[in-house]
Assembly symmetry: C2
């Protein structure tokens, strides 16, 4: 099977899950800057033209990060990232979707229709620039809400590191890069401490330090 990797927070979240699992896949880097994900060949694999994606030997292509993360837990159960019990899985799925819709989605709209507008024009339909400002503000409000909601927890699901930690971490890590929008975010003791705890997990530290030639070019 083949892993289609790319720039941005979504591929990063899956790359970090693979690292935590200790799973290495045959990987093809799809150059979004060169619009390699906007070709008829790629759309035939992934009708939304998004990355990352997993292509199976029989031709089935799985995209959407939560679906890939669930598949990883089914195919490589240990260490569990969705969860080892029904209750753990329920809690992980709940928090992953909450953070996705409440924070990653508005911050993503804010970035794509705001600072990265020139890059996304012609790649996807964008809302107006005022919408970018509004959603950036909404995402920041929800980051501040998360700060209070998470106080005292090591990880999003309490004592248990899980998939629920990875997409939001990857979004914030990506936006923390040069020229992105990190400086616009509220900071707080929980959020800063949590990001440092994720960043220094051995598998994640190694994955973040690995050379990403295409990412450096962008």
């Amino acid at each position: 099977m083949r892993f289609y990797d790319g720039l941005g927070p979504n591929p990063l979240a899956v790359r970090l899950a693979l690292a935590e699992k200790g799973v290495t896949l045959d990987t093809a880097f799809v150059d979004m800057v060169a619009k390699e994900n906007r070709t008829p060949e790629f759309y035939a694999k992934v009708p939304t033209g998004t990355l990352p994606a997993l292509e199976f030997e029989d031709g089935f292509v799985l995209s959407e990060i939560t679906a890939i993360a669930e598949w990883l837990d089914e195919a490589h159960p240990e260490p569990a990232l969705i969860g080892a019990t029904v209750r753990e899985r329920a809690e992980t799925r709940m928090w992953a979707r909450r953070l996705d819709l409440e924070i990653c989605m508005p911050l993503g709209i804010g970035f794509q229709a705001g600072r990265a507008r020139q890059f996304f024009v012609g790649r996807k339909t964008l809302p107006c620039e005022q919408a970018a400002e509004d959603f950036l503000k909404i995402g920041c409000e929800r980051l501040a809400w998360l700060e209070g909601t998470m106080a005292g927890r090591d990880w999003v699901c309490g004592a248990r590191f899980s998939w629920a930690d990875l997409p939001l971490f990857s979004f914030l890590e990506f936006f923390g890069r040069r020229g992105k929008q990190e400086e616009l975010y509220p900071h707080g003791a929980w959020l800063d401490g949590w990001r440092e705890r994720v960043r220094t997990r051995p598998a994640i530290a190694a994955a973040l330090a690995a050379p990403q030639p295409a990412a450096q070019a962008a």
Copy 2:
């Protein structure tokens, strides 16, 4: 355990999943019009103040419709709505998230910040009215895209009815009610046929016909 039900497309999607499963739960209707989901007591259960939610006997509260649907499939495996095999589950999760992010999310923003703006002011932070127009247009574009992508399929996952059919159906069904935004959507043979196929499934037809006193009042 108790099911917290309410108005709107998200509670409807879970209600339809329960109907397909033949599962009946002790249900409490939370009146969103009266802001019963904006009380300290409800926030203590569901920190996002959203519906629906499932409260377990030990006090754990599960919200987010995809997490509830996954739990339902784990607790009541037949008939499977997420899937009976690893591959089926992967496909359902992929399509459910695609339709969620590509269509339900923009149509939802369009409605909340547009026609339903007066209702949502003071209940959640809204983007500008132009954003509502822009996202309604984006959601409609993606409905037109879905029409082409789905041609020839009975259900979103092909021959298999699944959870991936329910949230989008529930959104369109909700928006089809008096005063909502259905008339703004593109129509097409696949979309219209699929909605009719979902609507006339025996369990779903019965659930849609059941009296919804609070919904009628709204």
